[in-house]
C-alpha cells in the first residue's frame, strides 16, 4: 500500500539515540537495565525500543497477550518517572488502556510506550494486571 494516503496516521515515536537506564519495579522488587541504542530493537514484539521490547530483551516478564500490537491491555505499565521522555499515547492505545484495571494518569501500554533516552525512567508493572485477560469472561 502506498504510504502517501492522507488518512494513514504515522506512528509518533523517537527511538533512543543515547544510552539510558530503565528501573523496573515488579512484585516489590527493583531491577535496573541499561538500554543501548545500538541494541534496539531487541526483538519484533511491540514498537522498536518500547518498554515491552526492552523487557523482552532483558528477560523481564511483561504479559502481552496480543503479541504487542496494541490489541489488548495486558502490558499495562505505570511510568513513575521519566514519562515526559516517552512518546505520547495514541487513540488506539488510550482505547485499550481504558480496559486495564488500576489505570492511573501515568499508565501506558508497554508495547506502545517508547522512551527517547533523554533521561532515565522508572516504570512499575502492576501486580493486579498480571494475566488480567484470562479473568475476562469469554
Amino acid at each position: 500500500m502506498a504510504g502517501t494516503n492522507p488518512y494513514i496516521e504515522k506512528a509518533h515515536f523517537t527511538p533512543a539515540v543515547k544510552p539510558f537506564r530503565v528501573t523496573i519495579i515488579h512484585d516489590g522488587e527493583e531491577q535496573v537495565v541499561e538500554v543501548r541504542p545500538e541494541d534496539i530493537p531487541y526483538g519484533r514484539t511491540g514498537l522498536p525500543g518500547s518498554i515491552l521490547d526492552i523487557c523482552e530483551g532483558h528477560h523481564i516478564e511483561l504479559e502481552h497477550t496480543c503479541g504487542g500490537v496494541c490489541a489488548c491491555s495486558t502490558c499495562h505499565v505505570i511510568v513513575r518517572e521519566g514519562g515526559d521522555s516517552c512518546n505520547e499515547a495514541g487513540d488506539d492505545e488510550l482505547d485499550q488502556l481504558e480496559e486495564a484495571p488500576g489505570i492511573t494518569i501515568q499508565s501506558r501500554l508497554g508495547c506502545q510506550c517508547v522512551p527517547n533516552g533523554e533521561r532515565d525512567i522508572i516504570i512499575e508493572i502492576p501486580a493486579w494486571n498480571r494475566n488480567a485477560v484470562k479473568e475476562t469472561p469469554h
Binding site: N5, I8, Y42, G57, H64, V69, A71
Partner: protein, 232 residues
C-alpha cells in the same frame, strides 16, 4: 501465576492452504475445553524467537460450537518468526494457547445492520461472526467488503459467495486490489447506510486506520462507533 484453564496445550490435526499466502492451522480440541466468542483470537505461546516464548495472536475462523478442530488462520509473513514456525508444525505437534481474548465481537444488542470491511486475513474473524449470525436466525442486514492483494488471496471467498447466494440478509463484495489499486477503494462498495448500521473494520493498521478515518469523515461516525481489529 497462570489462571485456571490457561495455558492449554492442543495438538495439531493438520495444516492446510487457505490461499496462496495464507494457512489454516487446525488444532484438536479434545485435550482441553476451549471457549471463545465469534471474532475473538487465541494468544499462542511459540517456542521460537530471540526471547521465547514468542507470543502471537491468531483469530478463530469458526465459532466454538462448530464441531471439529479449532481452526486458526494466518497469513504467510516471509520473515515472520511465528509464521514460519507454525508452517513447520506437523500433525501431533503441540501448541500452547496462553489466553483467549479480543473485543471484535458482535454488538449487543444487535444493530439494524453491520458493514464489515476487511483486508486479507482480516476477514477471518468476520467469517467466524457470520457463522454465528447464520445460526442465530433473523440476523441484521450485513454487508462484507473484503479486499485482498489479488483475487486469489480472498480468504474464504468460496464460502462467502455461497453464503451470499443462500442468505438474503448477507451481501458480499470481494475487491481485488492488484494493479496498485488504492485500498481505500473498498469504500466505494459501501452502500448508503444510516447510523443504525455498525461498521466493523479488520486488518493491518495501514488498512484499518485510513478506513476508519474515512468513515468518520464521509459518514460522520464517532471514532469509537467504528469498531476496529488491528493485526499489527
Amino acid at each position: 501465576m497462570p489462571m485456571s484453564g490457561f495455558p492449554v496445550t492442543l495438538r495439531v490435526r493438520d495444516l492446510r492452504n487457505a490461499g496462496p499466502h495464507a494457512y489454516a492451522l487446525n488444532l484438536e480440541r479434545d485435550a482441553a475445553e476451549l471457549e471463545w466468542q465469534p471474532g475473538q483470537w487465541a494468544s499462542l505461546r511459540l517456542p521460537v524467537g530471540p526471547h521465547p516464548p514468542l507470543v502471537r495472536a491468531y483469530s478463530f475462523a469458526q465459532p466454538a460450537w462448530v464441531e471439529g478442530p479449532v481452526p486458526l488462520v494466518f497469513d504467510d509473513v516471509p520473515e515472520g518468526v511465528g509464521t514460519q514456525y507454525l508452517k513447520s508444525l506437523l500433525p501431533g505437534d503441540s501448541v500452547e494457547v496462553g489466553a483467549v481474548a479480543g473485543k471484535f465481537v458482535l454488538p449487543d444488542p444487535l444493530p439494524a445492520g453491520i458493514v464489515f470491511l476487511a483486508r486479507f486475513t482480516g476477514v477471518v474473524p468476520v467469517h467466524c461472526i457470520l457463522k454465528e449470525l447464520e445460526r442465530l436466525g433473523n440476523p441484521p442486514s450485513v454487508t462484507l467488503i473484503s479486499g485482498a492483494p489479488t483475487s486469489g488471496d480472498l480468504v474464504f471467498h468460496e464460502a462467502l459467495t455461497e453464503l451470499a447466494e443462500r442468505a438474503s440478509w448477507f451481501t458480499y463484495h470481494p475487491v481485488s486490489l492488484d494493479g496498485g489499486r488504492d485500498e481505500l477503494s473498498v469504500l466505494d462498495k459501501i452502500p448508503h447506510f444510516g447510523h443504525d448500521v455498525v461498521p466493523m473494520v479488520s486488518g493491518v493498521r495501514a488498512f484499518t486506520q485510513p478506513v476508519r478515518a474515512c468513515l468518520m469523515e464521509r459518514y460522520g461516525y464517532e471514532r469509537r462507533a467504528v469498531r476496529v481489529e488491528n493485526y499489527d
